[in-house]
Each structure stands twice: as structure tokens, then as C-alpha cells.
Amino acid sequence: MELVIEGLSKNFKDTKAVSDISVTLHKGVYGLLGANGAGKSTLMRMICGILKPSSGRVSFDGMDVSEEGFRAVLGYLPQDFGYYPEFKARDFLLYMAALKAIPKKEALARTEELLELVGLKEVSKKKIKTFSGGMKQRLGIAQALLNRPKLLVLDEPTAGLDPKERVRFRNLIEKTGHDCIVILSTHIVSDIEHISDEVMIMREGRFIYQGKWTDEQTSLEDFYLKQFEEAEEDE
């Protein structure tokens, strides 16, 4: 299981959102840290094939990001997503399952399993518009897991979750990370402090650090700030 990112760049007119990123990821949880506007979402979108890179390539086990096979192993939770107004939680998951080419029988079973996992079984027949932000986010996580992804990309997944839900979410990701590659982007350090195997720190479209941080004798927050200070000194 290998995700290869080679020389990935994205320009928006005069702005360089992502600049020449190369990295190879294997099974495990990877935390992508960076301030707002650092280029995290752009990078995530290119990894998922939603945005075409200006240059560079993304592949998973030899499959290019544009291939159907790549999408078949991908689970993605965007930073901001919506739903059709008439959808109930269960309808939403069944709809996404159909798009993921999961046959109805399997989709029904998987939907029930995931609703239980994210704690939404009791409200599965309620309309999504009545849900709180945290409930919507949990539903988003459930749809990302429908196809048992080998590559799970989560863009700011803890936005809108209360502290209790955050802990629950972390446990869920930690468990999922044993079987696949999880890339979790956030600007909240504590979200990934205890669950990520490696961190990637982004600043102005570039990686200023990539590797294990647990080797360092400090907290991730201090380590993160140190990387920014060092990057500023280098400039």
C-alpha cells in the first residue's frame, strides 16, 4: 500500500497554492498541519483528483489519480460539504453507496454498520437538516468509510465537533489507520498529537517538516511552532 506524490504544484493565477511537493506514504495515520491558507485543502483536493495539478503526479499502488480504480479505494471528507434537502441520514449513506458502486444489499448492511459506528443509528430516519454540526460531520466520516477505503483523506474533520466527539473521532481514526493510509489535515495540533504516526507541516504551499515528531523531546504544539520559527529564520 503506497501513495506516491511527485512534484505536485498548483498555481491559481499569480498565487502558488502548492509548490513542488513530493512524498511517499505507507499504511498509517499522517497529520497534515498548517495555518489557514497554507495550501492544505488544495493539496488534499489534488490527492483526491478533484483539482488538476499545474504539475506533478499522484498515484496509489501504481494507479493514477484520474483512474476509476483510484477512486474505488478512496474515502474523502471535504472541509465543507452539503446534502440534498430531502435526505435523511440513512438516505444520504445509501445514495453515496450507490455512487461508490456498492450493490444495494451490501449498501444496506454497510450503512447500518456505519451508522452504529458513528453513533447515529437512533437518528438514521431523521432529516439531516435537523442535525447539529457534529452530527453532520460524523455522517460525513461515515460516508467516507462506506467503501472500506485504502486511502482516507480527511480535510479538517474535527471542525464543529465538541470535545467528547473529538475523542470519539480520534479513536475511530486510530482504529482505521491500522488498515489504510489516513491523511488528516487540521490546524488544531491536539487533533493529531496522539494518533498520527507522522506529521507533515505546511507553510505557504511547501512542506517545512515531514517525519516523525515523537522522537523530539517536546509537545507537538511546541515542535510545530519551532518549525515555523526556523522556517521564518531561514527566509
Binding site: 491559481f12 498565487t15 497554492a17 488544495t42 483536493r45 483526491c48 483528483g49 478533484i50 483539482l51 488538476k52 476509476e68 477512486r71 474505488a72 478512496l74 474523502y76 471535504p78 465543507d80 460539504f81 452539503g82 446534502y83 440534498y84 434537502p85 430531502e86 445514495y95 453515496m96 450507490a98 455512487l99 461508490k100 458502486a101 456498492i102 450493490p103 444495494k104 451490501e106 460516508q143 467503501n147 472500506r148 485504502k150 488498515d179
Partner: protein
């Protein structure tokens, strides 16, 4: 479950599965066929759209009785509304922020859009195929006039609508397409006041050019829209 069974279940609780995901991933999962996928999409088309289709069909069918000699104008004025339903349904993913989620699925946003266009395009053609010959038969004008007078507002609104949803995103696009549809519809109704001005042999070429141009633009914009799903643009 009997009392004994319940007691046994409580006494010997099954262990939690280990490496379940890893085990399941070894099996090649069955896939939903393309035909089943397209059919499944019909169930996700908005109720309002289906209701709109039905309402237009009923109104058109009753028009010879209810509006009698104005049937042609009445049916023609309904065509922009039909186009509005088709265009707004095709822009549903962007409108409700589902495009990004749909784009990364196995079938992808392109298939979703194409499936909806196939279903709704088919429905639109059925409505046109019923309405156009009906008014051609019922009104006193030459068949080619009547036919063109029914299809031109439809294709004109479709072309303008698709052009709009490709350039404007979200709810604003739907408001704009609605305004365009009602504008075309009102123009058709206003034309009823001076039929001799529009229903004369000199105008047939104008109608043909507008209809052909609109049809061409509708097809072109449809292709652009499908191609555009390869990359979802958003303001960074």
C-alpha cells in the same frame, strides 16, 4: 429468542472481531452495474422536478379545452418552465454542495450528471413529443410554424440556462435561470397579442435560425458542463 437462548448469549458473549476489515478487504466486492446506477439516480431526482413535469404535461393536455384557440401560445409559454426544470436539476450537485463528494466516488460526478441528463432529457423529449404534435394538429397555423413555436422557447431557455450555470455557481445560478425562463415565457405570451407579426412566412427563417442556434448552444454547453466535471473549480 427464548429465555435460555438469552441466558446463553449473556453468559458466553462473543468476542469482538479482530482484523475484520483486513479479512473483508481480501474479497473482491460486487459492483453496481451502470444500468442499475442510472435507474437508481431516477429515485434521487427532486420531487419538485417530477411534479413540474407532471403539471406541464397535464396543463398541455388540457389546454385545447381550457384555453381553446390560445393553446399554441399557452403550451409554448410552458416550454421555458420545462427547460428550467431540466437545467436546475442538472445543477443540483453544485447548488447543494454535493459536487465534491460525488466527484470522488467510483462513478464520479460526470456519471451522476450524465445519468440525470439521460433521464431528464428523455422525459423532456417525451413531453415535447406529446405537446408539439398536439398543438400542430389543434391550431390553425401551418405545422412547421406551430412546431417551431413550441421547441424554440425550450431550446432557447435550455441554452441560456446551461450557459448561466456554467458561469454562476450555487443558488444565484438557479435564480438567474428562473428569471431567464420567465422572461422567455412572458415574451411568448406577449407575442399572442400580435400573432400576424410572428406567424407570417417571413418569420419562419428567423424561428429556424433561433431554434437551430439554441439547439447547437444547448448541445455545446451540455458537453462543456460534462467536461467541466473533470475538475471542480472553487474560489481559493
Amino acid at each position: 429468542m427464548s429465555k435460555l437462548e438469552k441466558e446463553i448469549k449473556a453468559a458466553f458473549e462473543a468476542p469482538k472481531p479482530q482484523k475484520k476489515e483486513e479479512f473483508l478487504s481480501r474479497f473482491e466486492e460486487k459492483q453496481l452495474s451502470l444500468t442499475k446506477f442510472i435507474l437508481s439516480q431516477a429515485g434521487y431526482i427532486g420531487k419538485l422536478t417530477w411534479f413540474g413535469f407532471a403539471a406541464i404535461l397535464i396543463c398541455a393536455a388540457l389546454s385545447p379545452v381550457t384555453v381553446n384557440d390560445s393553446a399554441l401560445w399557452f403550451v409554448s409559454s410552458l416550454m421555458p418552465i420545462l427547460a428550467l426544470l431540466l437545467v436546475s436539476e442538472s445543477a443540483r450537485s453544485e447548488r447543494y454542495k454535493m459536487a465534491e463528494l460525488e466527484a470522488v466516488t467510483r462513478f464520479s460526478l460526470r456519471s451522476v450528471l450524465m445519468a440525470r441528463m439521460v433521464i431528464l432529457g428523455g422525459m423532456g423529449l417525451i413531453v415535447l413529443a406529446i405537446c408539439a404534435p398536439a398543438v400542430m394538429f389543434l391550431c390553425d397555423y401551418p405545422a412547421i410554424f406551430s412546431g417551431l413555436f413550441v421547441v424554440t422557447p425550450f431550446f432557447l431557455t435550455s441554452a441560456l440556462g446551461l450557459l448561466t450555470v456554467r458561469r454562476i455557481k450555487g443558488q444565484a445560478a438557479i435564480y438567474s435561470v428562473t428569471a431567464e425562463a420567465f422572461f422567455v415565457s412572458i415574451l411568448v405570451l406577449l407575442a399572442r397579442n400580435c400573432p400576424e407579426r410572428y406567424m407570417n412566412p417571413g418569420m419562419i427563417k428567423v424561428f429556424m435560425i433561433v431554434a437551430a442556434g439554441s439547439l447547437f448552444l444547448t448541445v455545446f454547453e451540455g458537453i462543456c458542463r460534462i467536461k467541466g466535471t473533470e475538475e471542480i473549480t472553487w474560489s481559493w
